[in-house]
């Protein structure tokens, strides 16, 4: 067992840090508020373009798609450094983490040629058309319908809580083509298709993050379907396993805690009782970090991950919460905007237990798969 980094990994981390230092503008902390603002999305396009030019956007992708087939550690080190400063890749992290890899695995050649190169250049933004008013954690009960007609699929329905929908080019859409779990299919739908209406929902996460998306007689060609009809559940399983540990949220939580401690020290307010609370938050951050490393280690060794991913996710929720609570209690002025990065963490932290599979779903997974407790009756 060895917790140290290789020379190459250390060098790579330094390279990423230098890139970030050279490419984040002076007013970055002002831009890095709510994760879905148009200002941040616009900046992310420039930033991701530069990352792509440096070979730092998708190093873990295969060579044929512009990557260097780097091991999972490299992508994770990259993501850690990005999250540490507030994730300047904005919503494009999804392209890098899972949309690109999923299209490589399940997409048609035409879909791959259309969508993967712009992702690899840092030019595209996607949204995830999963949740509906009646289908959140119970995703399989979604109702948005895609009916095959002569000219393609006619899609009708509504999505909700959709991040980035206001600025996204394409939607990774789940719609029903039959009944039950095996009756759900995935469609890659350009957001400028006639019949799509996006309405922003004001939220505590900040401007532009969550939306309602309405599909009224939206027609897409059959070629817009990803994989086979009814294959969505299989594909979503692969998506979630990439999504659950692909986001090193602990890195931003840890950086936020460190920033908060510095501020408290400067003002003479880092007293013993405050130190103990900081210790609790710090321990939670380090535990979440080690869980993530364990999963990346398994991934690097091609060992399948099970409920460990849920343990990692729940641990991350814990650390986000403890850091956010620490900041609110000891630096309340941060929610008035005095320290933009602390505010940015707060807004990201509050969704940690809700986005990409609620914390309670993770607890269910742990209870069933890890502890092997009897299942709940349904």
């Amino acid at each position: 067992m060895d917790f140290s980094w290789t020379e190459q990994q250390l060098k790579f981390r330094e390279r990423v840090k230098s890139f970030i230092a050279a490419n984040l503008p002076e007013n970055w902390e002002e831009i890095a508020h709510g994760p879905g603002s148009s200002e941040q999305t616009e900046f992310a396009k420039t930033f991701c373009g530069r990352l792509a030019d440096e070979g730092l956007l998708v190093p873990h992708w295969p060579v044929e798609w512009g990557g260097e087939a780097a091991d999972p550690w490299k992508a994770f080190i990259l993501a850690e450094e990005m999250w540490k400063v507030g994730e300047p890749r904005g919503g494009q992290y999804m392209n890098v983490n899972w949309i690109g890899p999923i299209l490589m695995k399940f997409g048609s050649q035409a879909q791959q040629r259309t969508y993967i190169p712009p992702m690899g250049r840092g030019e595209s933004l996607w949204c995830q058309g999963f949740s509906e008013p009646e289908a959140g954690s119970d995703l399989a009960s979604l109702r948005t319908k895609a009916e095959l007609e002569e000219d393609g699929y006619r899609i009708n329905g509504q999505k909700i809580w959709t991040s980035y929908a206001g600025d996204a080019d394409t939607c990774f859409l789940l719609a029903r083509t039959g009944s039950g779990k095996s009756g759900i299919s995935i469609f890659l739908v350009p957001m400028d298709t006639v019949g799509i209406t996006v309405r922003q929902i004001p939220s505590i996460i900040g401007e532009g993050d969550i939306h309602e998306v309405f599909f009224d007689d939206v027609v897409v060609p059959e070629s817009a379907r990803l994989g086979e009809e009814g294959q969505a559940w299989e594909i979503i399983g692969a998506v979630l396993s990439l999504e659950r540990v692909g986001i090193p949220r602990f890195a931003l939580a840890r950086a936020t805690l460190s920033r908060a401690i510095d501020l408290l020290k400067q003002s003479g307010r880092f007293t013993p009782s405050v130190i103990e609370q900081a210790t609790r938050a710090k321990a939670a951050c380090e535990a979440a970090c080690l869980f993530s490393y364990r999963i990346i280690d398994q991934r690097a060794k091609q060992i399948p991950t099970g409920a460990e991913a849920s343990v990692g996710r729940y641990s991350t929720v814990n650390c986000e919460r403890l850091v956010a609570e620490f900041v609110v209690e000891h630096l309340p002025e941060s929610l008035c905007g005095d320290y933009p990065m602390l505010l940015a963490h707060h807004q990201r932290g509050i969704v940690a237990g809700i986005a990409s599979g609620a914390a309670e779903i993770q607890l269910n997974n742990i209870a069933t798969q890890y502890l092997e407790l009897p299942r709940e009756p349904r």
């Binding site: 067992m1 060895d2 917790f3 140290s4 980094w5 990994q9 550690w73 401690i261 020290k265 880092f270 013993p272 130190i275 103990e276 900081a278 210790t279 609790r280 710090k282 321990a283 939670a284 380090e286 535990a287 979440a288 080690l290 869980f291 490393y293 364990r294 280690d297 060794k301 343990v311 729940y314 641990s315 814990n318 309670e360 993770q362 607890l363 269910n364 742990i366 209870a367 069933t368 890890y370 502890l371 092997e372 407790l373 009897p374 299942r375 709940e376 009756p377």
Partner: protein, 301 residues
Amino acid sequence: MDLMLNKDQAAVQEAIEAIALDFSSSPSDFHGFALVSPELDKVLLENGFFEIATIPELGPVSAAVTVERLARLPYTAETALSMMLSHVLGEVERPIAVVDGLRPGRFVREAKTVIVVDDDRIGLCHPGPSEVEDRPDALYAYPMANLVSLDGVYWLSDAERDRIKTWLRIALANEMAGLLQGAIDATVAHLSIRKQFGRPLGAFQALRHRLAECTVLSEGVRWLAVKAAWSGDAGDAALAAYHAQDAATRVIYDVHQMSGAMGMTLEMDLHLWTYRMKALLSELGGRGGQAQAVGQHVFGV
């Protein structure tokens, strides 16, 4: 980074699993607190387990994994300090105990070497039978005793003190990780069997979620503790010990609550883990003491 055990460490783990099998259930006629096994101690001694931290291919990580595994057993023996401090203390006789001044500690009667923490200093002593007072009525699930005076203690240098304190914290965290897991395992067994309202308790979401949360805490302790054993870093050690005592405070309550009246009995064995954890809660200054060390070594206060 390689978070799997190396070949030698995996072999040790396999060996300890085989030993653990013989000590995995308590005798049916035992209804007490300190279920000490001299046989377990003997087997570990005969097979060289107390020296594994000093063997380069194995090191403190292997010792940590072993301590954690043994702490999951219903039987106890003085393992954590002997296994995790052997490479720090050098040639001292075991068993080893740690006490806070004249307060009671675990295995003090049996100990050939007692580490004494007294405010900001650390010393060693080798008490004779008359220099130790037994605490037979202790509720903790370890044999408890205290020194009657500090007269025989020889105090160590600041550098030795700091090093020993770090490894005491690492030992505590790894032992606590096993105790947490032992308590959770016992609770899983109870929730899987005990039925109410026509179904196993473990099928109720209120309990499933609660125990899953305990598991996340317990796993966090395990990883922080093994990382600290790998690094030997004072900050890592203090963080691991803090998280261990903090997690235990919550888990002890939760597992007893979930085990209901059964957990109150001395038949279920749950107390063997929870009342060992309680003994560890106050060691090395408790959470306040660990936080002070984190302040010094991690936050630079």
